[in-house]
Assembly symmetry: C2
Homo-oligomer: 249 residues x 2
């Protein structure tokens, strides 16, 4: 059993407001907790089942507060439908300076509201080794438990920023390319893209917001042959990124 204070703290961290207030977030599940412990992100406290505790002993940093709890308690405290391994409270990492490098590609997300999509996009950024992900203020919180889970550990490696997106895009050097997906854009199969600048992905239902769309320097279209009206945002981003990086290897 954890103390009432710890239980209250964990429950508070389900919500963005308290994550910001406390500067902390939750990491759930054995795989994600292991990634956390081997990363540079500071762990405050670990709640763990007896069985998983045995497995992970050698990886635990000295002095880390650990509560051994039952599966039922762990599941009750967290957001997963079941959790038979671990839940960690971690410090929100400090934001790195956001300085777009004209030789690197950044991914920017405009009102992507589903935490699973935001997490999958952060994982994708990790796969291609992007400079990071800039989320609009209106995106799902990159530190929400569902987002963190969907990154499959990439939350420990990919720099993430939260910004007023039109303002930030407006502040960029005018020569920096800003790409966005658009049904009427240029066919990506006919372009030779270089992974530099910013690729902006829009919301699941409405695409890019008009102020963000106004900042694009090139519109990209993924040619399809069937009848679906659109693609999932992470799926579109994956196809576009593969088109950016296919000329690099």
């Amino acid at each position: 059993m954890v103390s009432k204070a710890v239980a209250k703290y964990v429950h508070a961290l389900h919500l963005k407001k308290y994550r910001l207030r406390h500067g902390a977030f939750l990491v759930e599940g054995g795989k994600s907790v292991r990634e956390l412990l081997s990363s540079g992100i500071l762990t405050e406290r670990l709640l763990i089942t007896a069985e998983f505790n045995e497995k992970i002993q050698a990886e635990l940093p000295a002095g880390l507060p650990v509560d051994v709890v039952s599966e039922a308690e762990l599941t009750h405290l967290g957001t997963l439908s079941t959790n038979n391994t671990a839940l960690a409270i971690a410090r929100l990492p400090e934001e790195k300076p956001l300085l777009p490098d004209p030789n690197q590609l950044l991914l920017a997300l405009d009102e992507v509201r589903d935490p699973g999509n935001v997490g999958t996009l952060i994982r994708l950024a990790d796969w291609y080794g992007l400079a990071g992900v800039v989320c609009s203020d209106t995106c799902a919180d990159p530190w929400a438990p569902k987002t963190v889970a969907a990154t499959m550990g990439s939350f420990t490696r990919v720099p993430v920023w939260q910004r007023n997106l039109p303002e930030w895009l407006g502040s960029l050097a005018p020569e920096l390319p800003v790409y966005g997906a658009d049904l009427h854009g240029d066919n990506v199969h006919r372009l030779t893209l270089r992974p530099a600048g910013v690729l902006v992905m829009g919301s699941e239902s409405h695409g890019l917001t008009p102020p963000v769309e106004a900042c694009l320097t090139q519109r990209l279209h993924i040619p399809g042959r069937g009848q679906a009206e659109s693609l999932n945002v992470a799926v579109s981003a994956a196809i576009l990124l593969d088109n950016f990086y296919r000329n690099e290897q």
Copy 2:
């Protein structure tokens, strides 16, 4: 208010067992219900809010039983966290004959257990105009409410089959190419792929099962430059399909 019998029937159709027994499935949300009504799939009954009923009047087929219900009742009956539009009961479409055409590409799914992923993959198959999607018996049910929702209407257009996957793959003509994703496969950026044969995608956590892997004729690798160990299954499929179709336009 719907009758107790209708409420019981709708609740039963949350479960695969009863979908099979009754040969029916649920379609939830205004957009999906509209796609259903304009498709060749038979609708048995429509449960609809008064507001949405006004909007959709012109699209309703004559003789379709319609219950006008409150938002609260609709949400209670269905699986969405809120539903202020519609829920339909539809007949499971009859399976088309599964005859692989050596000039078309089929997508096969091996133990993809998340209904959101299965739905996103069906939507992707629709985008690229694939011949259809063959799901292993161990996949999430393609007719589960969450799968149907994630297809974003593509459930009305993409033929879907459920099969014992190793058995079916074993029965194919030996000259038909069977592709699968593999970290040690051939770099897709260096291949010129033709969209013909079968592309098999494995489970979220374990990749392809050994009996399915044994059926592959070519292994494909998506080159990444970062540190993520793997990609989401729908994201990987999207990148591979784009590599199959980029030489066709």
